[in-house]
């Protein structure tokens, strides 16, 4: 599922966020640990319940935002609800929330915008019962896009907050 290049077909996707939530439009580069959210630790193998791969594939590790917005869409809320349940079921994971902005903004503002998106997800997960001391947040601004091209289907994939599980201690 990962490693699929962004194709013309993707641009036709009517409901981009929904598609993305299924992971179908994952990046054309997913092997950067952390940065894209789907790191190498999720590599090959069955999605064993409770594994990082299980989280990415069956729960969804990312939510998307409208342009210049930090509000959670209903799709995002649904994803985060599943994340909260899963994260409470497997409490040994600590994790990082990455906030990202698309490239259609200026550098300094986008850093703050990414941070605000990460904070929104943090606040929501905590409100759903996830303990705050398991969570770190970081912004990458517009510096780490997962999709690169000149149209809105790409930009919408980059406006995201990604929940990246830390590798369990000892593994």
């Amino acid at each position: 599922m990962f490693g699929i290049r962004v194709s013309a077909g993707l641009k036709a996707a009517a409901v981009i966020t929904a598609t993305l939530a299924l992971g179908a439009c994952a990046s054309n580069k997913t092997d950067q640990a952390g940065a894209g959210g789907a790191g190498g630790l999720y590599g090959a193998g069955a999605s064993t319940p409770g594994s990082a791969q299980d989280f990415v594939v069956n729960v969804g590790d990312r939510v998307f935002f409208e342009t210049d917005s930090t509000d959670l869409t209903s799709t995002a809320v649904a994803t985060l609800n599943k994340q909260a349940v899963w994260l409470q079921r497997y409490p040994h994971y600590t994790f990082l929330i990455e906030g990202h902005a698309d490239e259609r903004g200026t550098r300094e503002y986008n850093y703050a915008l990414g941070a605000r998106r990460a904070q929104t997800v943090y606040d929501y997960l905590v409100s759903r019962g996830v303990t705050s001391n398991r969570i770190r947040v970081v912004s990458y601004g517009k510096e780490r896009p997962v999709a690169v091209c000149n149209d809105i289907s790409c930009w919408s994939q980059n406006r995201r907050a990604v929940t990246v599980l830390d590798r369990p201690a000892g593994s």
């Binding site: 580069k29 640990a33 894209g36 930090t70 200026t106 503002y109 850093y111 970081v138 690169v148 000149n150």
Partner: protein, 487 residues
């Protein structure tokens, strides 16, 4: 024939420079540079260190040669804001002397003058006088006949001890008059800098503008795919020469800013999975330090004009506020306090005010306040999103990036928000930075897709837009002060 080529810093009244054609032609001038009259002042030798080292050590001696003919009315000049603006035709004759440096200096001067669009260096193949005796008065008639308004002559001679002596003269061809002449002694490795200093002398004499060529630019060099970009800080002469890398690319680096008083750069760096931090880098010694000790990510630094303070944006949950750090006492002061994103602060040249961007009213707009945070007032009211305000060193304008209708423009406005003018617009233009003379703005422009940005400069009239050569993709330029103004 007395074509007036008025060039003036925009906004100023035009003094109609009039070349009184007949006047000076043929007037006998004293042989240039009578040895006895040369008063050579040695400037303090700058420290030779790391990067800027030898070039900084460059300027050993320069002296205004007192050779000008008694003041004439006729002087070449240029009027930039006139509808009839035309670049000044100028002949830069090959410097004589040491072949290793003379040709290079001629090239640097010619390219500098051409790049800013205010001069039109003439093709040397059209010169009637192929070489000019530096110590004699040029044959003005031959330069008039190819309509050269200005004439630059010079030579670079190797002295005993390994130094070179570089001299130049700027002549007003139609007035038959020397306008400027200087002499420099330096290590030959500094030949490019000498070329820049001479370029500044010509620019200042003809336009009245302060210099801009004897400067450097720190920027972010970009390689690799956009999804996995390698970013390195690099420094180069403003024309792209003498490029050196300052970081290795192991971390993300963005938003460098040049200190107004020293060879230091503030920038934001970020390692994977870590928060961003504002750091200082001494580009002579390579020494680095983190600015302030903050619990959360910091970004968007800018120096105060005295170089003793840095303002930056501190992330606090979903909000970002502006803080000031005194680099000596290490004390930190909170400047803004909003439930919004306040970022991109930039001082007025007198240090009394700060311009910044904030989305407290919805989308990002430009605000001005006292340096202590008092009297915060919105100044941009145009349609679109206004970001990255930067106060001109001249104080007369604030440069900004404006997003509107899917286009990114670089523009200027007066500090009260009036007189907005867009200088260049396209798919993605960003990160304006001022030349020390407040006449040019450098920025980067990215056409989108997998490529990347390139550096350009535009003048405040918007008339001149020129690319600055870089080895790879480039972003986030930061223009230094005149190097002679640095410690």
């Amino acid at each position: 024939m007395a074509a007036s080529f008025d060039v003036i810093p925009s906004c100023e009244t035009v003094s109609t420079g009039r070349a009184s054609a007949a006047a000076g032609a043929g007037t006998p001038l004293p042989a240039a540079l009578p040895a006895g009259q040369s008063v050579i002042k040695r400037l303090a030798t700058m420290k030779m260190k790391f990067l800027l080292s030898r070039i900084a050590a460059a300027l050993l001696a320069m002296l205004p040669v007192g050779l000008t003919i008694p003041a004439a009315r006729a002087e070449i000049s240029i009027t930039l804001n006139s509808a009839t603006f035309a670049p000044l035709p100028i002949a830069v004759v090959d410097f004589s002397g040491d072949p290793e440096v003379a040709a290079g200096i001629t090239e640097v001067i010619t390219a500098n003058l051409r790049r800013i669009g205010y001069f039109a260096p003439l093709d040397p193949s059209t010169f009637i006088e192929k070489s000019v005796n530096f110590d004699a008065v040029p044959d003005f008639a031959s330069w008039q006949s190819i309509n050269a308004q200005g004439l630059v002559t010079g030579r670079a001679v190797r002295e005993s001890g390994g130094r070179i002596r570089v001299e130049f003269r700027l002549w007003d061809v139609f007035a038959g008059q020397q306008l400027a002449g200087q002499q420099f002694y330096t290590d030959p490795v500094n030949w490019r800098r000498i070329g820049h200093i001479i370029s500044d002398a010509v620019l200042t004499r003809v336009t009245g503008l302060k210099g801009m060529f004897d400067t450097r630019v720190v920027f972010v060099d970009e390689t690799g795919s956009k999804e996995n970009r390698r970013k390195r800080l690099a420094v180069m002469d403003q024309d792209g020469g003498n490029l050196r890398y300052l970081t290795r690319g192991e971390e993300l680096v963005v938003s460098p800013r040049f200190s107004p008083v020293s060879q230091e750069v503030a920038f934001m760096s970020q390692r994977l999975n870590e928060r961003t931090r504002v750091q200082l880098l001494n580009i002579e010694t390579g020494q680095r330090e983190v600015v302030g000790s903050f619990p959360d990510m910091t970004s968007s630094p800018q120096f105060a004009p005295d170089g003793q303070r840095v303002v930056l944006s501190l992330q606090q949950g979903g909000n970002a506020n502006i803080y000031a750090i005194n680099l000596r006492s290490r004390t930190t002061t909170r400047v803004t306090s909003t439930n919004a994103i306040d970022t991109s602060p930039s001082f007025s040249p007198d240090g009394s005010r700060v311009v910044f961007e904030s989305d407290r009213g919805g989308g990002p707009q430009i605000y001005v306040m006292g340096a202590d945070g008092s009297g915060q007032q919105r100044v941009s009211f145009g349609e679109g999103r206004y970001s990255q305000p930067v106060w001109s060193p001249r104080g007369d304008y604030i440069a900004f990036t404006r997003q509107r209708g899917g286009q990114f423009a670089i523009g200027i406005m007066k500090p009260d928000g009036s007189g907005e003018r867009i200088l260049t617009e396209g798919f993605h233009n960003e990160s304006p930075t001022w030349a020390p003379n407040g006449q040019f703005i450098m920025f980067f422009s990215d056409p989108g897709g997998q490529g990347g940005g390139r550096l350009y400069m535009v003048d405040v009239t918007g008339r001149v837009r020129t690319q600055i050569p870089t080895p790879s993709y480039a972003s986030d330029p930061a223009w230094s002060p005149l190097l002679s103004d640095l410690r």
